[in-house]
Symmetry: C2
Subunit: 298 residues, 2 copies
């Protein structure tokens, strides 16, 4: 699983930083998380093939999370796209996009509307799922969770021969089943297989106030992208505007026992980002800044 | 008069080039010509104080000419703007902007709608005017012309004393009037004044096919920004899509007898821009590329 940061700033672009957006790469499928102004330029800059994205997730109706959408769709059309494009978003976003789409595209846009407060699976494949969960911002907003399906068990060739297990049964072993041999003896699954890698997970909280309510939704994820619009010095502003400070994001990461925290959605009032890292790492050491252009892979 | 190039590309951003947009600076007033995606980022990058812009001109409804508008307006609001903002545009643009503006701004947007085919003065001050003129694209589109008012004549102090002209009459001399002295003798204006600098002019054609019809509207301008989406090798595509080739733009500059031609709105199919210059200069030597970040001053 890979996550590439396209933008890490909040509403007002500043210091060369663009609005918050990421591209998630899971099993070579690309997913766009929010799409602020300039997202398509960043994809180009960072060598991301924008045509490979089939699913776009928009967390809420604030401009810094969707204003790049119409330009991006228009570019896909100019590039000759024919494959359908799925957009998961609030109803207003569909309205904003469609009113500006008077020309016919060469492909279909399939909108999947997300209500005000929803917790549901949006994409389900054999290998992974993407779901949304409510977060707590000044307008209805959702975070998104990528979860790999349980990995198949890994067969041990030497043991398969030793227990004389027929090939037609290998797929059942991979699913975790035991085997009964010709003599009616039990061959336990763990004697002939080892566990696969644990399923990988990624969560993006979008814009939210400090919300322990979301901990259950992001419990134990490998990588958590949590917003940190402010440092602790602007705690009151964070509360007032339904945003989070760096120490608060670290607190959520700690409670949710995540592997790693990345922080972004910085206010334009901060030119330097290192203080965010220092404040967060005091509480949750495994924190990194979501620098633009950086790819997190695990 | 100064023109700074924010973007010089056509609809599909490519090779690091952004959609076509410029900032015109006349007598320290700033005007934004078109506002594609990323225009506000470019202003920031090029050190242009976005708050100083009070007038925005949108040539037509294609996304690459307006999609940066809502983000830019939103940023102005976040920056605490109170002064009203004037937008000159087709009716559809007003609709697109207003539907996405559900929150209250700290300032008023005054829309000045431009019909399908109009030739009229949009801004008129003591020192200059801005007018629009129809060009010939696949949708109703207008170019814009900046014209300084006729400069006042420059008084020659020595001559004023010599002819004993009273001070109260100086302003009339500056306007070009003659003087009758106490003895009833005529003092001709050109004996006591010299001509001021000729009024400066700038024209931006926006998107258009090769259109000799516009020559009268841009006759003798100091600086002409004409689109050159294609090189001559794509003449048929240019005709089909209501765009212009480099030699055709040069031909228009020649017919209109302009001082200097700058060319932009390049198709993403061209990585190198120098061939545009070569093709244009063969017909109109005083051509320059509208490189992004470059300021033309005269």
């Amino acid at each position: 699983m890979k996550v590439t940061i396209l933008g890490n700033n909040s509403a007002l672009p500043a210091h060369g930083r663009y609005p918050t957006s990421q591209v998630v790469d899971i099993n070579d499928q690309l997913f766009l998380m929010d799409c602020g102004e300039g997202a398509q330029m960043r994809m180009h800059q960072y060598g991301i093939k924008s045509q490979r994205i089939n699913h776009i997730f928009i967390s809420h109706i604030h401009g810094d999370h969707y204003l790049g959408l119409v330009g991006y769709i228009s570019s896909l059309s100019l590039l000759g796209r024919e494959k359908e494009l799925h957009i998961y978003c609030p109803a207003k976003i569909k309205e904003y996009v469609m009113i500006q789409m008077p020309w016919s595209l060469g492909f279909e846009i399939v909108f999947h509307l997300i209500g005000d407060i929803e917790r549901k699976v949006l994409v389900e494949t054999e290998k992974f799922s993407v779901s949304c969960f409510p977060v707590y911002h000044s307008v209805p907003t959702h975070g998104f969770l990528f979860t790999e399906k349980k990995r198949k068990r890994v067969l041990i060739p030497k043991k398969l021969q030793e227990y004389e297990i027929p090939k037609y049964y290998y797929s059942k072993l991979a699913e975790g089943e035991d085997y009964i041999d010709k003599q009616g003896e039990l061959v336990k699954n763990e004697w002939v297989t080892t566990e696969g890698h644990p399923p990988k997970t990624y969560a993006y909280t979008a814009d939210t106030r400090y919300a322990p309510e979301i901990v259950d939704d992001i419990l134990h994820v490998d990588l958590l992208y949590h917003e940190t619009t402010y440092l602790h010095d602007n705690l009151l502003k964070a509360i007032d505007r339904y945003h989070t400070t760096a120490p608060q994001a670290a607190e959520i990461a700690l409670q949710a026992q995540v592997q790693k925290l990345i922080i972004g959605h910085f206010s334009s009032k901060y030119k330097e980002l290192n203080p965010f890292l220092l404040e967060s790492q005091q509480i949750f050491p495994s924190t990194e800044i979501a620098f633009e252009g950086k790819t997190f892979e695990w």
